[in-house]
């Protein structure tokens, strides 16, 4: 339960971090909050030869809003920063609510949004939340900057669009429309444990009170977060009271084939996703979570 030997470099400069990671080769890893990487190292599931500690690079942690209402989070912003941020509570209430259910307080004090996105655990909340909120990920490397939408960042099981020695530097959340409602549901065996499945519903109402857009995101039970387009389409154009939540749930459960594992059978996961989707929609439409 002790990690294998590695070299440690702490840097205060992003450019130096890129260089260290490039020079360190394939077994060099960036260290953010360490709440996924360090357990993997302790279990010797990960054996990096070099850790490049990003924690003291100035400007990578924090939340701010731009004039157009976009909320920008530095990649090293901790889960607890979101949990206790007034800005997030006002502008992106789903993030605040979701963070209160991520692992446990001591983990949330260290774990970061960027680390969680780069790690890409299928059960992680951040990849799904970023997809649900149309977030843009800003990636940087020695080759420059590129911006990747959250929907294109996930490349499957623990896999992302990041190339070696490339780092997420910030995450941009576009301003919410005025009449947006949301639901966030997940199921784990114990409070704070990895979710067997989760569903997020983000529902926008138009001026006439009809649903103008409905985004249903399934995570945990799939290799990566998936948008259930057919499920969302069943809600669009309808008044909230006319939405058949069961039909939407059923459609959400058809988003992908599920696979049995130690924690749950494929059938159970399918039924769970259907139930959680129903609940997420009901939560969104109840409006009880409006900011």
């Amino acid at each position: 339960m002790k990690p294998a030997r590695f070299k440690y470099r702490r840097t205060h400069d992003l450019g130096e971090a890129f260089r260290l990671l490039e020079d360190g080769g394939a077994d060099a890893r960036a260290l953010a909050g360490g709440q996924s990487l360090v357990p993997a190292m302790n279990l010797r599931l990960a054996r990096p030869t070099l850790l490049v500690d990003l924690n003291r690079i100035p400007g990578l942690r924090g939340l701010r809003a731009t004039e157009d209402g976009t909320v920008i989070a530095g990649a090293l912003t901790r889960h607890s920063d979101f949990e206790f941020s007034d800005l997030v509570a006002q502008r992106l209430p789903i993030l605040r609510a979701a963070m209160a259910g991520v692992a446990h307080p001591a983990i949330r004090n260290r774990g970061t949004i960027g680390g969680s996105l780069a790690h890409a655990d299928p059960a992680g909340d951040w990849p799904a939340l970023c997809v649900a909120c149309d977030a843009q990920l800003v990636l940087n490397s020695r080759r420059g900057e590129r911006i990747v939408p959250a929907t294109e960042f996930s490349r499957g099981f623990f896999s992302t669009a990041l190339s070696h020695a490339e780092l997420i530097t910030e995450i941009r959340f576009p301003a919410w429309p005025r009449n947006r409602h949301w639901g966030h549901q997940k199921m784990a065996r114990r409070r704070g444990d990895f979710a067997i499945a989760g569903v997020i519903a983000v529902i926008d109402l138009g001026d006439g009170g009809q649903v103008s857009r409905a985004r249903i995101v399934v995570f945990g039970a799939t290799d990566a977060p998936l948008v259930a387009h057919e499920a969302g389409a069943l809600a669009v154009g309808r008044a909230p009271a006319a939405i058949d939540a069961n039909a939407v749930g059923k459609a959400a459960a058809g988003v992908a084939p599920f696979h049995s594992d130690l924690h749950a059978s494929a059938t159970y996961k399918q039924e769970l996703v259907q139930t959680l989707a129903c609940r997420a929609i009901a939560q969104a439409l109840a409006g009880s979570n409006m900011a």
Binding site: K2, K7, N55, P105, A106, I107, R110
Partner: protein, 157 residues
């Protein structure tokens, strides 16, 4: 000790500490083995059990998921530092009064996690206490006396 060893300087329970550590040494092992502060316990060593919870720069963290090199410049409080010698904090007194410990292995982490909660939220509901302690496993008490102790401590003047 290898060539990769790194010098660190930090404050532990009010005392300045300087040392040279291998990067792979967990902060928990540094506290226990180098400083002989064995009140911080290691259970699972992968962030699940909460026994190694300590305060770093005023926030509760898992000391098994942080390397000692990362604590360079930090202010650390362990269970040995929460009360002055020969005394207990009101929270610790409440743990004793409510039999909120039996074997005591989880207790240091429980006390630190509860301390962090009470600092942020001085009058928590039982559900808030359960949520705050959900990352601390106890095999003896059944948790109920622990929640009662934290609630009781929160009502002390």
């Amino acid at each position: 000790m290898t060539d990769d060893a790194v010098p660190i300087r930090l404050t532990v329970n009010g005392q300045a500490v300087t040392a040279t550590v291998e990067p792979r040494m967990a902060l928990a092992d540094f506290l226990r083995e180098r400083l002989r502060l064995t009140g911080t316990h290691l259970g699972c060593e992968h962030g699940v059990c909460g026994a190694c919870t300590i305060m770093v720069d005023g926030e509760a963290v898992r000391s098994c998921l942080m390397f000692a090199v990362q604590a360079d410049g930090a202010t650390v409080t362990t269970i040995e530092g929460v009360a002055s010698e020969q005394s207990l904090t009101p929270l610790q007194e409440a743990f004793r009064r409510h039999h909120a410990l039996q074997c005591g292995f989880c207790t240091p982490g429980m006390v630190i996690s509860a301390m962090a909660l009470l600092e942020r939220c001085p009058h928590p509901t039982p559900d808030q206490v359960r949520d705050a302690l959900s990352g601390n496993l106890c095999r003896c008490t059944g948790y109920i006396p622990i929640v009662e102790a934290v609630i009781d401590a929160s009502r002390q003047p």
